[in-house]
Amino acid sequence: MDPDQVAKAFVEHYYSTFDTNRSGLANLYQDGSMLTFEGQKIQGSQNIVAKLTGLPFQQCHHNISTVDCQPSGPAGGMLVFVSGVLQLAGEQHPLKFSQLFHLMPTPQGSFYVLNDIFRLNYA
């Protein structure tokens, strides 16, 4: 599969899981994973998922605008840079966001998120 397709498939899977089954994100992180969420640093799958499931909204929907990817080095990693909008249930206006994922291959042939950086884009 071509890297751009892999990146796009991963991103769709990630946000679909986020929007419908947030605790399912645990499968996409490992102990060494790092998340920086609006400047707050969190390490490890358990803490990351706790942070994401603890976000102060019940329902949300991510709409992706752009996905750019590049190989990150000889270990087969992929950098995936996403921009889009996030609609929270009950909020009038969607929030714009950018997010960077650094994906690393697993022995089973899929990817996990080693690095994750999320920022809202305020006007």
Binding site: K41, T66, Q70, S72, G73, S83, I117, N121, A123
Partner: protein
């Protein structure tokens, strides 16, 4: 270790945009033949082509103002991921453009960093 990485990320971002705004051709020193840039979806490889692209952008003068810098170790032999958001004021334009950019920095033998990966996107309202 963490504080160091954030400091390196911030220092790099300041240096990069200072060069961009004041001496764009010098950006070539920050890239190598293996470097990759994706600029608004266009993919460019190698220091020469990347510098050519950046020099030829259709404005004479610009000024980057950084809003946020987030950094993390990338696990590639001392590599650092740097995620920047900010605004870009072009000379003669009324309103600044907002942008996000990510850099993947790799240490050089001289103890500095070069940009292996660079992805730039404007953030439209």
């Amino acid at each position: 270790m963490e504080k160091n990485i954030e400091m390196v990320g911030r220092a790099f971002a300041d240096h990069y945009y200072n060069l961009f705004d004041n001496d764009r051709p010098s950006l070539s020193l920050l890239y190598q033949p293996t470097s990759m840039l994706t600029f608004e979806g266009q993919k460019i490889q190698g220091a020469d082509d990347i510098t050519a692209k950046l020099i030829q952008l259709p404005f004479e003068q610009c000024h980057h103002v950084i809003s946020t810098v987030d950094s993390q170790p990338s696990s590639f032999a001392g590599g650092i991921l740097v995620f920047v958001s900010g605004s870009l004021q072009l000379q003669g334009q009324d309103h600044p453009l907002r942008f996000s950019q990510m850099f993947h920095l790799i240490p050089t033998v001289e103890g500095r960093f070069f940009v292996l990966n660079d992805i730039f996107r404007l953030n439209y309202c």
